[in-house]
């Protein structure tokens, strides 16, 4: 096939990728958008099969069949709660494929490659390997494998990481100056170690940032491989994904009021000797499902603020039933979704959508906050740090300045929680002891079910 025709087909594929991402701007067009992306991929791959020099169709077919079988199996069996793990794993595979391709190309044509292609090979190896090992560690952390609890960062991990990073840069220059197979694979191995070290020291609360960042890396690795092969569709698709991941990383950082370096290098915000939990929780009032039902009965507007605790308790279906019951009584119900509720960007929305809660009830933080003062009852289920008013009022708090959902500004705030244990930030939450706050100590799913029963009886 003529190289010009191939390049034109790649251009068509790139247009489909862009249209696909554009489709994602609205829930109604998102399914079509995703389909466009898949069509673009089909075009790119089919055209490549006719490219000059492709003769080993048996090998390709074997790979595609095995890969498709695995891909279909995990895509159909993964639970929505496990989406972060799934995305982490896919990021890693994408990164690995990229450095393998660069390595294969380097093996084949090391003497014929120009300096720019070799530099791109090195970058592809570096980014790809960091993506693979970082994603594997993120996957293990998210899946809560038991052995991950024993894996701790080494003492002076930061220094080790810095030395390793310098060493990798040195390898990169060596590779460009004196291209050698050994140097490339040693670079890949060192980068693999660096990716693992960097991710090991990142805390559980920062996982949404890490996944978004690794998403960006997997795109950049593909783009670097595009430079190795001088292939436009790889460069375009890779950079689109790189940009997408970077934006999501920034959204997540902003939502936690953390800077990217602070997340990557594990430095915490201002550590305050704030009041102890006992002091803060002196005036906590606890309540019962019956009392909550009575409060809801007379409300005209209810806002539900879900956190990851809701998903852990598998309470989303009970929450949907409660929502429908309240709406049937003519009560206005909306959800306030904090950007970092859940374990990856937009995770909470997926969990609620799976429980058939209409997405137009799900409001973003700013939108819900502007209506909080007109809200009769705010129901906080399994959320903690994202509703901590200390972020707004206490400048010495570790979470000072983090945008929160103003649950404390509703007329009554009901918090469903098993105990007064702290969230990821490890600090007490004055919301629980507020004048207009009531605590319902119970498992999320059970508590919501009890409220529904009480509402039906009352």
């Amino acid at each position: 096939m003529n190289q010009n025709l191939i390049d034109l087909a790649y251009l068509a594929a790139a247009v489909f990728f862009i249209l696909g991402l554009k489709g994602m701007t609205k829930p109604k067009t998102a399914v079509r958008g995703n389909l466009f992306g898949a069509i673009g991929m089909l075009i790119a791959v089919l055209v490549t099969l006719f490219a000059q020099g492709v003769v080993g169709y048996g090998v390709i077919l074997t790979g595609v069949v095995i890969g498709s079988a695995i891909g279909v199996y995990i895509a159909l069996n993964v639970k929505m709660e496990q989406m972060p793990e799934m995305v982490a794993l896919l990021n890693g595979l994408g990164g690995a494929a990229s450095f393998l391709v660069a390595g294969a190309e380097f093996w084949r044509a090391s003497s014929a490659q120009g300096v720019d292609a070799i530099a791109a090979t090195g970058l592809s190896g570096l980014i790809g390997a960091v993506t693979l090992s970082g994603s594997l560690i993120a996957f293990a952390k998210l899946a809560e494998f038991k052995f991950m609890k024993k894996v701790k960062p080494l003492p002076s991990q930061q220094v080790i990481n810095a030395c390793l990073a310098l060493f990798i840069l040195l390898l990169l220059f060596t590779l460009v100056a004196r291209p050698a197979q050994f140097t490339y694979w040693f670079l890949v191995l060192s980068s693999f170690a660096l990716g693992a070290f960097l991710t090991i020291s990142i805390g559980g609360a920062d996982m949404p940032v890490v996944i978004a960042l690794l998403n960006s890396y997997s795109g950049l690795a593909a783009a670097a491989t595009g430079f190795v092969l001088n292939n436009s569709v790889l460069i375009i698709a890779g950079s689109l994904v790189g940009a997408s991941g970077l934006i999501l990383t920034k959204v997540m950082c902003d939502a936690m009021n953390r800077s990217l370096p602070a997340v990557l290098f594990g430095t915490l915000g201002p550590t305050a000797d704030g009041p102890s939990a006992d002091e803060v929780y002196k005036s906590v009032k606890s309540t019962s499902a019956d009392e909550v039902a009575m409060l809801l009965e007379v409300a005209t507007r209810v806002v539900i603020v879900p956190g990851y605790g809701m998903a852990v308790a598998q309470a989303q279906h009970a929450v949907r039933d409660l929502t429908n019951l309240l709406k049937s009584k003519g009560i206005e119900v909306e959800f306030g979704i904090h950007p970092v509720a859940g374990r990856m960007p937009g995770h909470m929305n997926v969990l609620l959508a799976e429980a058939d809660i209409p997405y137009d009830l799900l409001k973003e933080m700013d939108e819900i906050n502007s209506t909080m003062e007109q809200t009769d009852v705010c129901l906080v289920i399994g959320a903690n740090d994202t509703v901590n008013p200390d972020a707004r009022t206490n400048p010495s708090s570790p979470i000072a300045g983090m945008p929160i959902i103003n649950a404390d500004k509703a007329r009554t705030c009901i918090v469903i929680k098993r105990s007064l244990s702290p969230g990821f930030a490890g600090i007490p939450n004055p919301l629980f002891a507020n004048q207009n706050s009531l605590m319902l100590f119970a498992d999320g799913k059970q508590a919501v079910a009890d409220i529904i029963t009480a509402l039906k009886e009352g």
Binding site: L21, V31, M83, V87, L90, A97, L100, S239, A243, M344
Partner: protein, 107 residues
Amino acid sequence: MFQLLAETATQVPTQGTHPLVVGLAIFVLAVFVGFEIITKIPPTLHTPLMSGSNAISGVTLVGAVLASGAEQTDLATMLGLLAVIMATVNVVGGFLVTHRMLQKFRR
């Protein structure tokens, strides 16, 4: 380092643009397109966006096909085969799980 730069410079064809420069132009423009589109995507769809864009980053499958399909049956082919498997899992799994997720947003 200077030697390297000089080498790069000597590789530039006397006429026409060096492929690296064309590639860089494409890269920079695509990043801008990416930023423009992605900032318009609502937080509701951020998870499907990630899994979907993840599938797109599996475009490295194109490279894998080129690497594994070439004539030799040596290490390059083996690496290519491994890359084809991984990239296919990424592409097929990514698009399919995104589709599954987006179905739930249809209502």
